[in-house]
């Protein structure tokens, strides 16, 4: 277990292990997303109240919860980087920040465009919305801090510290729900648990697009991390050999 853990911590092992694995993950992801989105956006029946507007759900919900989970993952990576000085963990954290922030932005934008027809306003200072906005700010802070440093080591350590400090905000944001009323709906889990209310035509595509999005998150993170590995290890012998091979093949 520990051995595996340390092995995964080595950039080279990470790179080589993912080389075979990523294309399959990417294909599966593409399939899931295609089914989920085409079905959800194209064929699922319109909602009795919101008509076709509700279709935004197939993008909004996964990106919104994705943004939250990605932060959690980033924090775990930051902790691993601080405690065991695992470089790959930092590279993953860096990728997490980028796509977490993008997901957060997408959730905000889709939510806002959804809010106009349903609630009558693009934006309201409601707990969940506010929490999402703050999360976005924290992501941006982490990225801004990282890019402000010249030295790679200092940048990654500083970003890790800020990421961990930012974790404190998460439960507080959660309790802020007591503060603003929640206009945003509570978690419905789309009726997956007690299939009583939401019919399968609506939640099955959501499940597809949800898993597709999870796959997408991992594909992007892994690809980004692989890039980062090549960049940071560009002088390591194995990378040089890899480059030689690639250019030889080309």
């Amino acid at each position: 277990m520990w051995q595996w853990f340390y092995k995964l911590g080595s950039p080279r092992y990470f790179y080589e292990m993912t080389t075979g694995f990523v294309p399959w993950l990417a294909r599966a992801t593409f399939l899931l997303l295609a089914i989920g989105l085409v079905w959800g956006l194209g064929f699922a029946p319109p909602d009795y109240q919101m008509g076709d507007n509700y279709r935004i759900i197939y993008i909004h919900v996964p990106t919104a919860s994705g943004a939250i989970w990605i932060y959690a993952m980033m924090a775990v990576m930051a902790a691993m980087h601080m405690i065991w000085n695992i470089k790959v963990a930092d590279m993953v954290a860096k990728s997490c920040a980028l796509i977490g922030a993008s997901f957060c932005a997408v959730a905000l934008v889709t939510g806002a465009f959804w809010g106009k027809p349903t609630w009558g306003t693009y934006w309201i200072w409601d707990a969940k919305l506010t929490a999402t906005l703050i999360l976005f700010f924290v992501y941006v802070g982490v990225m801004a801090l990282r890019s402000a440093f010249d030295s790679e080591t200092a940048a990654s350590k500083a970003a890790s510290v800020l990421t961990l400090v930012g974790v404190v905000n998460l439960p507080i944001i959660y309790y802020a729900a007591y503060w603003w009323n929640t206009l945003h709906q509570r978690s419905s889990e789309l009726g997956v648990r007690d299939a009583s209310a939401n019919p399968p035509e609506i939640w099955i595509p959501a499940v597809f697009s949800g898993f597709g999005l999870i796959g997408l998150i991992f594909v992007i993170i892994i690809l980004h991390t692989r890039n980062e590995i090549l960049l940071r290890e560009r002088r390591a012998q194995w990378v040089q050999e890899l480059v030689k091979q690639e250019t030889g093949n080309a």
């Binding site: 029946p45 009795y48 109240q49 919101m50 609630w119 009558g120 306003t121 503060w179 939401n198 609506i202």
Partner: protein
């Protein structure tokens, strides 16, 4: 004990102590109740005095919606099935606002006990259903209400 050890112990000690105190304070806070968002029941219990700027949440009671005059002023009854409160509002309504649907209103309770809203937001519930399903369900509910067995 070496000085280094002693230092570490002091630091760990203050962190543990701090966490304990913080947890205690938070528990106390949550016991106090932090709500500034009220249900009709809480209002009926007299938790809110007149002329406090608050938010209320509930459902628009079936059959209570009345449009007045040119149609920009409305009154309706907000309910949490337990208690009711009359609400008055002037302004543009969101699409989702309709009877039987969740609503959040912000405003004050006037001297007559009417909630004078200065903003109204509609709330979607946690369920999504297609128009046909909704119709079928409604029909079933009606039949049930009529006392028939399916």
């Amino acid at each position: 004990m070496t000085p280094a050890r002693k230092q570490k112990l002091m630091i760990v000690g203050s962190i543990v102590l701090g966490s304990a105190v913080a947890v205690a304070l938070m528990l106390y806070a949550f016991n106090q109740g932090l709500n500034v968002f009220f249900t009709p029941t809480e209002i009926a219990e007299g938790k809110v005095g007149a002329d406090q700027n608050i938010r209320i949440g509930g459902m628009v009671k079936m059959g209570s919606l009345v449009k007045q005059g040119a149609g920009t002023t409305i009154t309706f009854i907000a309910t949490d099935t337990n208690e009711d409160i009359p609400v008055a509002y002037t302004g543009v309504l969101p699409d989702l606002f309709r009877e039987g649907q969740g609503v959040v209103a912000e405003g004050r309770i006037d001297a007559n006990g009417v909630f004078q809203a200065n903003s109204i937001l509609a709330k979607h519930d946690e369920n999504y259903m297609s128009a046909e399903v909704k119709a079928a369900l409604d029909a079933a509910a009606e039949r049930k209400a009529a006392g028939g067995t399916p």
